[in-house]
C-alpha cells in the first residue's frame, strides 16, 4: 500500500495503474493517487524488501 503525500489516501498499485492509464507519458514510473491525482515516485525495490522483512520480523515476534 502507498500513502498519497497530498490527500493521505492509502491505495494499492492496481488502483494507481488505473489512474495512470490515460496518461501520454508512458514509462514515467510515477505513481498517481486515484483520488486526487498527486504523483509520487514508487519506493525502490530494496527499500520495499527491507520494509517487508521488518514487518515479517515483527509478526514472527
Amino acid at each position: 500500500m502507498t500513502r498519497c503525500g497530498y490527500c493521505g489516501m492509502e491505495f494499492d498499485e492496481a488502483a494507481a495503474e488505473k489512474a495512470c492509464r490515460s496518461c501520454p507519458m508512458s514509462g514515467c514510473r510515477m505513481v498517481r493517487c486515484p483520488r486526487c491525482g498527486f504523483e509520487s515516485l514508487p519506493e525502490p525495490r530494496w527499500i520495499r524488501w527491507l520494509k517487508n522483512r521488518r514487518r515479517k520480523d515483527v509478526a514472527e515476534r
Binding site: 488505473k18 490515460s22 504523483e39
Partner: protein, 666 residues
C-alpha cells in the same frame, strides 16, 4: 461497529427492471468519486481486469469476474457519479449501465460511511428506480475513528435493501458483501418517497404515459422525465415525448423554482431524516493540538504569514542559501573546479588526439565539463535540498492545508484549491505538472493552469539557482519575486475573464496533520534523487551533445547570433544569448548558464535582475512544449509558447527600461 448484512422481506416491492438472462450474472458498482470503489472492485475480482471504452464513448469501464458462491459473476466498475441526472459523459455512461443498457442483477452503491447523510440522496434515487440495490458503507474504520456509529440493520430495514459495512483497504466486510451479492434479489419493501401533491400528480400522469409505451410502473424514469432529462425523453416515441413535455410544463407552471431543484431538495431532506435515524455521533471531544494547528494553518490571517515563513526558511534559506550556496560552492569549485575538470582536461589532452572529440568531452560545452558539471555540481545539490524540504511538507500533511488556504486567491484566477497540486508539482518539474492538470475538473481550469505553469512557475533547480544568484541583493530578489507574482496573478486573472466557463468549485477532506517521520523523509528524498540521476542527468548530457553538434555544424552560433539583438534590447551583453538557448533545452540548464555568466562578472545588478526575470518567464523547455501540444492540442500548445516568447521579452525590456528610467542601481 460490527459489519452487518440484513435483508428485508420482499413485500409490496416496487417494479424492478427486467431480470438478466440466467446465464449472465452482472453486478455494477456505482458511487461518487473517492469512496474506494476501485479498491472494492479489486477485492471482489482479484488483480485481473479488462478496461475498455464504453461503446460509442471515450469513457473507460473496468470489468472483471468474481466467483461468488458457486457462480461466476461479471463485475463492472462505473466512473464516479453523484446522481442519476448526469452532468458529464462519465455520469451519463454510469447511468446508462445501471438503468438502460445492462440490466444488472445487482447494483452496489459504494458510499463513504463518514459522509452517509450527503450520499443517501443518491441511494434514495437508485431506490426509486427500483434497482436490485446493495448499499455498501465503505471506509467504515475512519467513520468509527471519528466516533460515528451507523445502525446498518435499521438502515437496511428502512431502505428495504441489504446494507453492508466494509473497509476495502483491509478487506473487512468483503465476505458479507459477497454473500449479499449472491443472495441479491429485486429490492424489498420500501415506503416510496412522496413529493408535493402537484409533483405526485404529474408523476402519476407520466407513469401512465410510460405504461402506455409498454413500461409499467417506471417511477424512477418518470422522475427523470419530470426533471427534464433529455436522454430519457429521447427513448420515448414522439407522441409520448410530446405528452410528457406538456405534463412537465404544466407542473412547472405552479412553481417559481425548477422542478429539478425542488425534487433534489426534497430528496436531500428525506436523506437527512433517514441519516438522523440511523447515525449516532460520539460527544464532541476537545480539539487536539494537531487540530488547533490545522485550523491556524488554513485561517487566512494566520495561514499566510506562516506560509511566508515556510517559504522563507524552507526555500530561501535552506534550498537557496544553503543548497545553492554552500553545497554548490563545494561541489563546483572544489570537486569539479579543482579536481575533476583539470583531470579530465589533462587526460583528454594526453589521450584524445582529435580536437572535436576532445571538445565533446572536455571543451567549453563538453559532456563532462559542462553537462555533468551543471547536472551534478550545480543542479543536484539544489534539487536534493528541495526534495528534502518537499518531503517534509508532504509528510506533515501541510500541502492540502495550503490548498485550502489559497483556494480563495486561486478562485480569482479561475482556479481552485485543487490547482495547488499542479502548481506545487510544477516547482519540481513543470512537464510532469502539466500532465497532472488533467486532474482539474474543467477544460478552462486545465488551460489556465497550463499557461501559468509554462509562464510563471519556475522549477526547483531554477528557483534555487535564482535564489543563489540574488540572495546577496535583497532589492533585486524583491523585484524578481514581485514581477513573478504580479505576472502570475495578472495572467491568471485575464485568463479567467477571457475564457468562458463556470467558476470552479473545491471540496477536500483534510487528512490529519502529523509529525514527519525520518524514515519517510529519507525514503522520499532518496527515491527522488535516484529518479533525478536516472531521468535528468542523461538529458543534461544529451544537451551537451546537441550543443556540440550545433557548434560543429555552425547552427548553435547562428542561433546565438540571431538572439543577440533581442538580448541587447533587454540591456544584456550579447554573450548572454546562449543562456536562452540553454533554457529551451531545460529551464534549470538556462539558469545554470546564468549562474556561470554571473561568476564571470559580466553582469551588473540590474542586468542580473532583468535576465533572471526574463529567463524565469521564458519559453517552457522542449519536454514541456511537447506535453503542452499533446495535452492542449497544437493550437493551444504553439499559441501558449508564442505568447510566452513575446511576453517574457516584453516584460524584460519593460523592466530594464523602468529600472533605468528610475535610475535604480542594484
Amino acid at each position: 461497529m460490527e459489519s452487518s448484512t440484513t435483508h428485508a422481506s420482499v413485500t409490496n416491492r416496487p417494479p424492478s427492471p427486467e431480470p438478466a438472462a440466467t446465464a449472465r450474472r452482472l453486478v455494477v458498482l456505482v458511487g461518487s468519486p473517492n469512496v474506494g470503489k476501485s479498491l472494492l472492485f479489486n477485492r471482489l475480482t482479484g488483480a485481473y481486469a479488462v478496461v475498455s471504452n464504453y461503446p460509442g464513448t471515450t469513457v473507460e469501464i473496468t470489468q472483471g469476474k468474481a466467483q461468488i458462491g458457486d457462480q461466476e459473476w461479471e463485475v463492472a466498475d462505473t466512473p464516479g457519479m453523484y446522481s442519476l441526472l448526469p452532468n458529464s459523459e462519465e455520469e451519463r455512461v454510469g447511468r446508462a449501465m445501471v438503468l438502460f443498457a445492462e440490466k444488472p442483477n445487482a447494483v452496489l452503491q459504494v458510499v463513504d460511511a463518514k459522509n452517509l447523510e450527503r450520499m443517501l440522496a443518491f441511494t434514495l434515487q437508485l431506490r426509486e428506480a427500483g434497482l436490485p440495490l446493495i448499499l455498501v458503507l465503505n471506509i467504515m474504520d475512519e467513520a468509527e475513528k471519528r466516533g460515528i456509529q451507523i445502525d446498518a440493520a435499521r438502515l437496511s430495514k428502512l431502505l428495504g435493501i441489504p446494507v453492508v459495512a466494509t473497509v476495502s483497504t483491509t478487506s473487512r466486510g468483503i465476505g458479507e458483501l459477497r454473500e449479499a451479492i449472491g443472495r441479491c434479489s429485486p429490492a424489498g419493501e420500501f415506503r416510496v418517497m412522496k413529493y408535493s401533491r402537484r409533483i405526485e400528480s404529474a408523476l402519476g400522469a407520466i407513469e401512465r404515459q410510460l405504461a402506455a409505451e409498454g413500461r409499467p410502473g417506471a417511477r424512477g424514469e418518470a422522475l427523470l422525465l419530470l426533471q427534464g432529462d433529455a436522454d430519457t425523453r429521447s427513448r420515448l416515441s414522439a407522441e409520448a415525448a410530446a405528452a410528457v413535455e406538456a405534463t412537465v410544463a404544466e407542473c412547472q407552471r405552479g412553481y417559481s423554482q425548477p422542478l429539478r431543484y425542488l425534487i433534489a431538495t426534497e430528496r436531500q431532506r428525506q436523506a437527512s431524516h433517514l441519516a438522523a435515524r440511523v447515525m449516532k455521533f460520539a460527544p464532541k471531544r476537545p480539539q487536539s493540538f494537531a487540530e488547533r494547528l490545522s485550523a491556524v494553518l488554513i485561517n487566512p490571517w494566520t495561514g499566510f504569514p506562516i506560509l511566508l515563513l515556510v517559504l522563507y526558511v524552507g526555500l530561501y534559506k535552506f534550498v537557496g542559501q544553503f543548497g545553492a550556496g554552500v553545497a554548490v560552492d563545494f561541489l563546483e569549485n572544489t570537486v569539479f573546479g579543482r579536481y575533476l575538470n583539470p583531470a579530465v582536461e589533462a587526460l583528454c589532452g594526453r589521450f584524445v588526439p582529435w580536437s572535436p572529440v576532445r571538445d565533446l568531452l572536455a571543451g567549453e560545452y563538453g559532456v563532462i565539463t559542462l553537462g555533468l558539471r551543471y547536472g551534478v555540481a550545480i543542479i543536484l545539490p539544489i534539487v536534493g535540498f528541495f526534495f528534502l524540504f518537499f518531503s517534509v511538507m508532504e509528510d506533515t500533511g501541510y500541502l492540502p492545508r495550503l490548498a485550502m488556504l489559497i483556494d480563495r486567491v486561486f478562485k480569482k484566477i479561475g482556479l481552485s484549491g485543487r490547482g495547488v497540486i499542479p502548481m506545487v508539482l510544477g516547482l519540481g518539474c513543470d512537464t510532469m505538472a502539466t500532465v497532472v492538470t488533467r486532474t482539474l475538473p474543467t477544460v478552462r481550469e486545465r488551460i489556465i493552469a497550463t499557461v501559468l505553469l509554462a509562464l510563471a512557475v519556475p522549477c526547483s533547480a531554477q528557483l534555487g539557482l535564482i535564489f543563489a544568484l540574488l540572495h546577496g541583493n535583497s532589492a533585486a530578489l524583491a523585484i524578481w519575486a514581485g514581477v513573478l507574482v504580479l505576472v502570475f496573478l495578472l495572467i491568471g486573472f485575464l485568463c479567467a475573464r477571457l475564457l468562458p466557463g463556470d467558476p470552479p468549485r473545491f471540496y477536500m477532506e483534510l487528512p490529519p496533520l502529523r509529525l514527519p517521520r525520518i524514515e519517510n523523509i529519507f525514503v522520499k528524498t532518496y527515491t527522488r534523487i535516484v529518479w533525478y540521476f536516472k531521468e535528468v542527468i542523461p538529458l543534461f548530457i544529451l544537451a551537451s551533445v546537441l550543443i556540440w553538434l550545433g557548434r560543429l555544424t555552425g547552427l548553435f552560433d547562428l542561433t546565438q547570433k540571431a538572439l543577440e539583438q533581442p538580448v541587447r534590447w533587454l540591456g544584456l551583453p550579447p554573450e548572454s544569448a546562449k543562456i536562452f538557448i540553454f533554457g529551451f533545452f531545460r529551464r534549470d540548464y538556462g539558469a545554470a548558464g546564468l549562474y556561470d555568466l554571473q561568476k564571470q562578472g559580466v553582469l551588473t545588478g540590474v542586468q542580473l535582475t532583468v535576465a533572471a526575470v526574463t529567463l524565469t518567464l521564458f519559453l517552457p523547455c522542449i519536454a514541456q512544449f511537447v506535453i503542452n501540444v499533446k495535452e492542449r492540442g497544437i493550437k493551444w500548445g504553439v499559441g501558449i509558447s508564442a505568447f510566452i516568447l513575446v511576453f517574457s521579452f516584453a516584460i524584460g525590456v519593460g523592466l530594464n527600461a523602468l529600472l533605468h528610467a528610475l535610475r535604480i542601481v542594484l
